[in-house]
Amino acid sequence: MVHYNEDELVARLLDESTRRRAFSELVSHFQERLYWQIRKMVVIHADADDVLQNTFLKAWRGIENFRGDSKLSTWLYRIAINESISVLNKQKQEFNLELDNTDSHLIVGLEADPYFDGDELQVLLQQAILALPDKQRIVFNMRYFDEMKYDAISEILGTSVGALKASYHLATKKIEAFLNCRV
């Protein structure tokens, strides 16, 4: 694996002559982490693929304006989350769902997705996660699946650590309640 040095990579990204090669390294380094974060949000592989491509395209177009105030990962996560939310909102409009409604269409999509082979319990867990409001779902995914620290999540989402802890606690209680009333 290529050695990753963020400061050096940022310097090469800001230099036009080395930008292309550096960006390719950036894609290689972050593609998998970002993909799984996006996939947990949009659930279906085809949508996750589109969102990941758009995330990197937006990053490429905006790299000149990257001032290094935050870490590259924070910046990329922010773009990815905004893109995912925008795709989910578009889908909700297409399916005529209220913006805070359960993403029932995603469960249907997940079960039909050829790149999902989870058992009944895994589908149930996904149902429970998808019943959460968008923000709680993002916090839950980052903390539970990616085991990210609250400080890092706070930097990405621009929410205080206290609010994130409350959000995560609420999300876990809701998921457990959902699972226990269906099993």
Binding site: S28, Q31, L57, F116, G118, V123, Y144
Partner: protein, 122 residues
């Protein structure tokens, strides 16, 4: 099986979500192609935008010159324009007093006409 499910029961269990084989291996290459296409489109857009930006002031100047030339020409030839817009038949009719009198009488009521003649002493 436990009576109550807890969220920790799912930890370290696979999510069931998969990706196509070699997805992450090919992704960077696909991204490169996408960036190339995006750059090409961007360059074409910039070129078009550049052309419009360059030509815009000249088009405005040409339109203004054309407009002033038209107004100037119009003001210079205004007399002949008025002459041409009045048909000759109308002018000859205006000379014929009988025609005008008939036209006036036709538009005046009978009572008003008698009052007029009375005042004139006819």
């Amino acid at each position: 099986m436990k009576d109550k499910i807890e969220i920790t029961d799912f930890q370290n269990r696979p999510s069931g979500m998969k990706v196509p084989e070699g997805y992450f291996v090919d992704f960077n290459e696909r991204m490169e192609t996408l960036i190339d296409d995006s750059e090409q489109n961007n360059n074409q857009r910039e070129l078009k935008k550049g052309l419009v930006v360059t030509l815009k002031p000249w088009l405005y100047i040409a339109a203004m010159v054309g407009f002033f030339a038209f107004v100037f020409n119009f003001l210079l030839n205004i007399d002949s324009v008025i002459d041409q817009s009045t048909p000759a038949s109308m002018l000859s009719m205006a000379d014929d007093e009988g025609v005008i009198e008939d036209a006036v009488y036709a538009s005046v009521g009978e009572y008003a006409l008698f009052e007029y003649w009375y005042a004139e002493g006819e």
